[in-house]
């Protein structure tokens, strides 16, 4: 008999122990390469699906209205240095207005563009005050809403404010983050005022046809 053909030795492991070993192995199936690829594909697919859903507008955009908003009275009077919170353009959209010391009236969405914490008006910070998100130290310039420090990726959406002869403060319309005032007007009011839309050069605006009746 050659040394390569040894008779099977007596198994030193008793049946109970062998069964227990088999049980333990079966209870912890190993992760295979195929499992790994499946995981990567699933995670990537999930992230891609979520990204597509966001891009398709599945999530609510703060300070954005489907319909052009109606002007809203937010304060009977706002003194220099004072501020007020209100909901605009929707009842769930938190916003704030600030009267700067020089009398300028500014309004913004009060929802930070980073992770949606509330933005506070800090009159004691900066040259003429700052808008601060305390969650992650995000800072916005009070005259423009631009990010001056911290993690917010975009400026605050603006709220166009107006003041009537009695000094009452009104919120008129909302401008999306990074959107120009003209684009915001065209987006919301071009259908209502087509002639002005043509004058402003809104994309897709046409002079309304005048229908003439036959004599």
């Amino acid at each position: 008999m050659s040394v390569t053909h040894q008779p099977p030795a007596d198994d030193p492991m008793p049946d109970a122990a062998r069964q227990a070993l088999r049980d333990r192995t079966a209870a912890h199936p190993p992760t295979t390469r195929r499992d790994c690829l499946r995981v990567i594909a699933t995670v990537s697919g999930g992230l891609a699906a979520g990204g597509v859903a966001v891009a398709a507008g599945a999530l609510h955009r703060h300070a954005d209205a489907v319909e052009p908003p109606e002007p809203k009275l937010v304060a009977e009077r706002l003194e220099p240095g004072a501020s007020v919170t209100f909901r605009f353009p929707g009842e769930e959209d938190r916003a704030l207005a600030v009267r700067l010391p020089d009398g300028t009236l500014v309004g913004y969405s009060a929802v930070c563009t980073h992770l949606a914490c509330a933005v506070l008006w800090r009159a004691d910070r900066g040259m003429e005050g700052e808008l601060l998100c305390p969650c992650h130290e995000g800072v916005f310039e009070v005259r423009t809403g631009e990010v001056t420090a911290g993690p917010p990726p975009r400026p605050l959406p603006r709220i166009v404010m107006d003041e009537d002869a009695d000094g009452a403060v009104w919120a008129v319309t909302a401008i999306r983050s990074g959107e120009s005032a003209k684009d915001a007007w065209c987006r919301q009011f071009a259908d209502r005022a087509p002639e002005q839309a043509v004058e402003l050069g809104c994309p897709g605006a046409r002079t309304p046809r005048v229908t003439e009746g036959r004599v």
Binding site: H28, G50, G51, A58, L59, P134, G138
Partner: protein, 282 residues
């Protein structure tokens, strides 16, 4: 098939909870989408893996043995207390056998409580369940809301507010300290104590350290760099978190040579597994 059904059911339940808890996605934030997706996959993975594990022939035989052992007269008195005992042991109120030195036990606790704190803070935020609002523009009053209802009000610029907003930093420091110690001691300890579990796996510890360090770099950027490089750091942090959650769900957490002798808690006083022939297989 049953495992896939269980995983799908767990994922759908979580998605439903996210949609309802975020008030029909109104409070859900797009920047947190990768984290939410990762938790949904985590739910699938944990349910799938748990079902596979508990339905596998080996585990089923063991659970049958557990059931059998549970109703033995000599175990009846101890059975109701075994789960609370296991929980107390894992949450550090009781020393685990084979847990090693006092420093090692402390490192375990740091990692554990750091992870618990991080999960309690980030998961509800990522799901859109928790929001922070202010009723006054000038502050400093802040409101923490859960599912749209006010939970507590606090001064955003005061000490409590700072602690609230620095909770994740604290969690990251705890995890870095504990995981670094375990990594440092890994080679020697794991060679000696094969009974150690997750601390002997390289990937989970490294992943936890990466998540924590990238997480700590975010406030560093906010506080000291005025937000410089924040976006790149945030992408790196998101990728590390998604990888870690995916690894928890689907990866190999415990190397084969460091697995426990049987599934279930290794707790002093836990029920022994007794086979029908009376043999204790522990």
């Amino acid at each position: 098939m049953r495992a896939i059904l269980a995983g799908t059911a767990a994922s759908l339940l979580l998605v439903l909870a996210i949609v309802l808890g975020s008030r029909l996605l109104r409070e859900f934030h797009a920047a947190l989408l990768p984290y939410a997706v990762a938790t949904v996959l985590l739910a699938f993975g944990v349910a799938y893996r748990g079902t596979v594990r508990f339905l596998s022939p080996g585990a089923r035989r063991l659970s049958e043995a557990d059931r059998h052992g549970c109703f033995l007269r000599r175990n009846l008195g101890r059975a109701p207390g075994s789960l609370p005992r296991a929980m107390a042991a894992y949450f550090g109120f009781q020393a685990l056998p084979r847990a090693g030195s006092r420093a090692r036990r402390a490192a375990y606790q740091l990692v554990l409580w750091g992870c618990v704190l991080a999960v309690l803070i980030t998961f509800p935020l990522a799901w859109g369940w928790v929001t922070f609002t202010a009723d006054s523009a000038a502050g400093p009053g802040y409101e923490m809301r859960i599912w749209g209802m006010e939970l507590l009000g606090f001064d955003a610029l005061g000490f409590f507010g700072s602690v609230m907003f620095r909770g994740l930093d604290l969690a990251a420091v705890l995890v870095v300290a504990g995981a670094s110690y375990l990594l440092w001691r890994q080679k020697r300890d794991c060679a000696v104590h094969t009974g150690q579990r997750f601390a002997c796996g390289l990937v989970p510890l490294v992943a936890l350290v990466v998540v924590s360090v990238t997480g700590l770099l975010l406030p560093f950027s906010s506080l000291f760099l005025h937000g410089g490089g924040y976006r790149v750091l945030a992408i790196g942090h998101t990728a590390s978190v998604v990888f870690t959650l995916g690894h928890i769900a689907f990866g190999t957490l415990v190397p084969r040579n460091a697995r426990p002798r049987r599934p279930g808690p290794a707790v002093p006083g836990a029920l022994p597994v007794v086979r029908s022939n009376g043999a204790d297989v522990r």
